[in-house]
């Protein structure tokens, strides 16, 4: 009896740090955000918090800026699936191949992941500067002046510039996910396929891609949820501007709270994002599970 009690104490003590951290940094903020989303608060410690019911949600859903920011998040997803996924998979194929210098390539491709987001953002802000940026200079040198644009200030173009920088930055990270899948494919299968005449592109189509299904699943879930909460790169590159054109839900949430001091409304955006993120994750999971069955 005594032993069982002491084992219970041990379990509690082992669990306590994780539970305390989870409650402090995840559960409490989530509950507090849900509470604030039904209230109006000016964001000043001790100032009154007034219950407003569903008003914040109504205003957020009627706000064009919110839908525009969601559209920008959708662009992140499109970029994720159309650019990042093939790019990362391609890089994974290179580093798992028998080519020379794969060790160097591994480091080189992974380098952007090791840099801080702010450093990457600043570097690209300079590269994309319309007056003296390297990209426009290069285009001008190639006599392609017409293609030299104001990459971060032109509405429509600025969000895609950030999306592509995002893909450049995370290609190395996702490359590792795909590489892990590729190296786990048994060599016998490739050998058997080779005997049957399945080489080159066929080998990729009928062996590598189908057997990397798990990696594609992981990528899909990470991509969908990651795109919804994109913030740091957007903030460091454009701050959601000019005039909110590159706003994503997380930067909108930040601006509503810290620029306009509408913490209730900002919390409502947070809750909507949470619901959307969970729903999309479940949907993607189900979709992939159904395919499996």
């Amino acid at each position: 009896m005594k032993k069982r009690r002491s084992s219970k104490t041990t379990i509690i003590l082992y669990l306590a740090p994780a539970v305390i951290l989870f409650v402090m940094f995840i559960l409490y903020p989530v509950i507090n955000t849900i509470y604030l989303s039904f209230n109006s608060w000016k964001g000043i410690y001790g100032s009154p918090v007034n219950f407003v019911g569903l008003t914040n949600y109504k205003q957020v859903l009627q706000n064009n800026a919110f839908w525009k920011s969601l559209l920008n998040s959708f662009f992140f997803m499109v970029g994720g699936f159309c650019v990042l996924m093939p790019l990362s998979f391609g890089l994974a194929l290179i580093i798992t191949s028998k080519l020379r210098g794969t060790k160097f390539m591994k480091t080189a491709f992974f380098m952007p992941v090791m840099l801080s987001t702010t450093a990457v953002a600043l570097m690209w802000v300079y590269i994309l500067n319309p007056s003296y940026g390297a990209l426009n200079e290069l285009l001008r040198a190639l006599h392609l002046d017409g293609l030299a644009k104001d990459w971060l200030s032109t509405p429509g173009l600025n969000i895609w510039s950030v999306v592509l920088v995002n893909e450049w930055m995370y290609a190395g990270y996702n490359m590792l996910i795909f590489a892990a899948g590729l190296v786990s494919i048994p060599g016998d299968i490739y050998e058997a396929a080779e005997i049957d005449g399945c080489t080159g592109f066929k080998r990729l189509r009928y062996i590598s891609i189908p057997l990397s299904k798990e990696s594609f699943k992981i990528f899909s879930i990470l991509c969908v949820t990651g795109c919804l909460k994109a913030f740091d790169l957007v903030w460091a590159m454009t701050k959601g501007g000019p005039n909110h054109t590159s706003e994503v839900p997380a930067s909108l949430l930040y601006n509503e709270a810290f620029t306009y001091k509408f913490f209730g409304k900002s919390s409502a955006i947070g809750v909507l994002l949470l619901i959307l993120g969970v729903t999309l994750s479940i949907l993607v999971n189900r979709l992939l599970r159904r395919e499996e069955e």
Binding site: T10, I44, K261
Partner: protein, 436 residues
Amino acid sequence: MKRKVLAVVMAMSMAVGVWPAAAMQTEASGGDDITITVSSRYSNDNPDENYFRQKVEEFNAMDNGITVVMDNISTESDYLDKLRTSFANGDTPDVFQEYGGSRCLDYLEADALVDLKPYLDENDGEWYNTFYDSLWNQTIYEGYEGIYAVPFKTYMVVMYYNKDLFEKAGIEVPKTVDEMLAACETFKSMDILPFQVGEKDNYRFGHFNNNLVIKTLGVDAVDKLASRELAYDSDEMISTYKTMAEMVEKGYFGDNILDTDSTTENTIFKEGNVAMHYDGTWFIANELFGTDFYDHVGVAAFPYGDESCKNYAQGGSSDMFFVSKLNKSQEQIDASIEFLKFITSPEYYQGLDEVAQTIVPVKFEKTDKSPVNPLLDEVNKIQSEVVDMRTDIQNYDPESHMLDTVRSALQGLAMGNSPEQCAEEIMQRIQEYGGQ
């Protein structure tokens, strides 16, 4: 047994992690010295801001039982974000720099600011009387008794111009908006940039619009906008956006204005490639004085759109210091006042005048060390003709989001939005945020 020991060690390590924070708290509140935090944007390497930091160090060296810890962040948006966050979590600086107006109204409504009037009135208003009377109107709020800030800097927006380029073009410095547009056209035809605006910092268009409104529609328009008697989508206001939209379209504001920040804007003007540059009077001390370019610059009043408004200007107290009482002890508040008295003393401004001359909010006597500064003399001459001033128009608005709302909408003009779109965006935001 081993497991049990490990569990206890882990639990203890959690507790130990919290210990230093608790210990620091005790030390801060238990010692004899009072430590106060002062937040400002004065982290740049220019004579004015270097002087501020030097004086704070001098204050700390006085051994008066008060230690000032500076928290200086230069970029306006970053500074304001940090300040707002500190108000949300209750860990505010003791003294902070802000620009007054409606943006600080929320702090006042939440009873987070110290009423400075009792301190200013001490000894027959000794401290109060060191300031120019006209500046107090920006530190008081309708419906609230008291004074909630002390002016630290004053300014007026004027038009700086490159004398060489005007001579080359053979034209007069514009006095009216129409003359300014004509001058822009002349410079454009000569392949010279009329302006190079750094609208990446969206206060630049904000200031331009302030001047168009104040010097075309008059100072009354500012009050009418605040009371909504004059709408932001009225024909009068749309005409001001229209002027700006046309200037964007014709390239008068320069190239890549959304990718240019105000620092780059200053640099380009100082390189001598731009004909005109509108800015606050701080520009002389921070950017021109002591440079080779100083003699190539002239200064004039910002052009007026209507003759009846030619003696109005955008100006007044720019930077002000507020004292927070959120979670502060009386000792901390008293220490904050002591510090404020030090940095707003005539001696402070006397010393400042020797290193960075500008127009200031406090009366003081110049010393022999004050350098000759013809540009500042010219500014003083322009100011002597001004009969009324207003700072940023939205500072007088009852809704605290308006300054950011209008600046953001004006930034849309730089992207090619129409004047009507700009007006619509402001009105939509007013409607959206109304009653919050």
